[in-house]
């Protein structure tokens, strides 16, 4: 652990760089994941209400896709 703690006189700049990376990339990962989950939930809700895309209706003559959940 000594190696990781003793980063010399410019340690503050090194930790600030890694800290900024952690915050920015962590935020980006959280935001993209949250967006994907949100969109999938909306899609599942709409499909549960029986709303279908035109292409899905055209593909099945009965007008039913037979899938309870959105494609993942």
């Amino acid at each position: 652990m000594n190696a990781i703690l003793d980063l010399g006189q410019h340690a503050g700049f090194i930790w600030a760089s890694y800290g900024a990376t952690l915050i920015l990339l962590g935020g980006l990962i959280a935001w993209i994941r949250a967006d994907a989950r949100h969109q999938l939930r909306l899609l599942d809700e709409l499909e549960a209400q029986g709303v279908q895309r035109r292409s899905a209706r055209a593909a099945s003559p009965q007008g039913k896709r037979g899938k309870g959940k959105a494609e993942r």
Binding site: A3, I4, H10, I32, Q39, R72
Partner: protein
């Protein structure tokens, strides 16, 4: 006779893309975690301090991969934009749009870590030299393209406008790459991507390459996830339009 689509043709089908990316993502995420852990171990416990820069060389292990990905991200946006204009395929738009915030984030990271590296090594956080300025322009290009996507509501129109701007902006990529050769910059010239052997000792080069691989894997995990979210967003919009159409048709029938 109907020609069978090739690999990219099939991948351009949103349903097949969702299926394939869904299968690849868990493996790619696992690879990213492993590479990141190995990379950080090498950086903090194995890599020696630089003979001139001392421990501040540790900033390089995140600065250089971020800068590479900032440019790779824009290269992806450019190629997807060309694909979008030529084939008018919505998946090309999806790929270009989804790469923007990720590329912008890595560009900002390259700027921040470069600045934090510059202060102890150059004595200043920022200089208006060709390399730094052209990377700042790249960051603004990303922001401009994101703003354009937000400003135009109809996705296919937004896609065309953004694709044209992205292709025009791609002139900045060679300027960034060769700025250190064309102009007298405070930023050092290339040490790894040179025609002769890399000018870095393997004890520093290997951790750098592992971190670069980790960051690249993370980029693709994020890009694939963002693309999936965009496909779902467009389906949600399409379903809502169908809902509105159905409601209007119902009102029309009652009237």
């Amino acid at each position: 006779m109907v020609e069978k689509p090739g690999f990219f043709g099939r991948l351009a089908n949103p349903s097949i893309f969702l299926k394939l990316s869904g299968a690849v993502l868990p493996w790619l995420t696992g690879l990213t975690v492993v590479l990141m852990l190995v990379g950080l171990y090498l950086v903090f416990f194995v890599a020696p301090p630089d003979y001139q820069q001392g421990e501040t060389v540790k900033i390089m292990y995140i600065h250089v991969p971020s800068a590479w990905l900032a440019m790779m991200g824009y290269a992806i946006v450019t190629v997807a934009s060309i694909g979008s204009l030529i084939w008018r395929h919505p998946m090309a738009d999806v790929a270009a749009k989804s790469a923007l915030p990720i590329g912008a984030c890595f560009t900002l990271l390259a700027l921040i870590t470069g600045s934090l590296w510059g202060k102890p090594m150059w004595g200043t956080y920022w200089v208006w030299d060709a390399r730094l300025t052209s990377v700042l322009i790249l960051f603004f290009l990303y922001l401009g393209l994101m703003a354009l996507w937000q400003a135009v509501e109809e996705p296919s129109r937004a896609g065309r406008a953004a694709a044209i701007l992205a292709i025009v902006g791609s002139v900045n990529l060679p300027i960034i790459k060769f700025s250190v050769d064309w102009w007298n910059t405070l930023h050092q010239p290339a040490s790894i991507t040179r025609l002769d052997a890399p000018a870095i000792h393997s004890s520093i080069l290997i951790p750098l390459l592992v971190m670069a691989a980790a960051f690249t894997a993370l980029f693709f995990v994020l890009h694939l996830t963002a693309m999936r979210a965009e496909v779902w967003r467009r389906r949600v919009q399409a379903l809502r339009l169908t809902q509105v159409d159905a409601a209007r048709a119902g009102e029309g029938a009652r009237a």
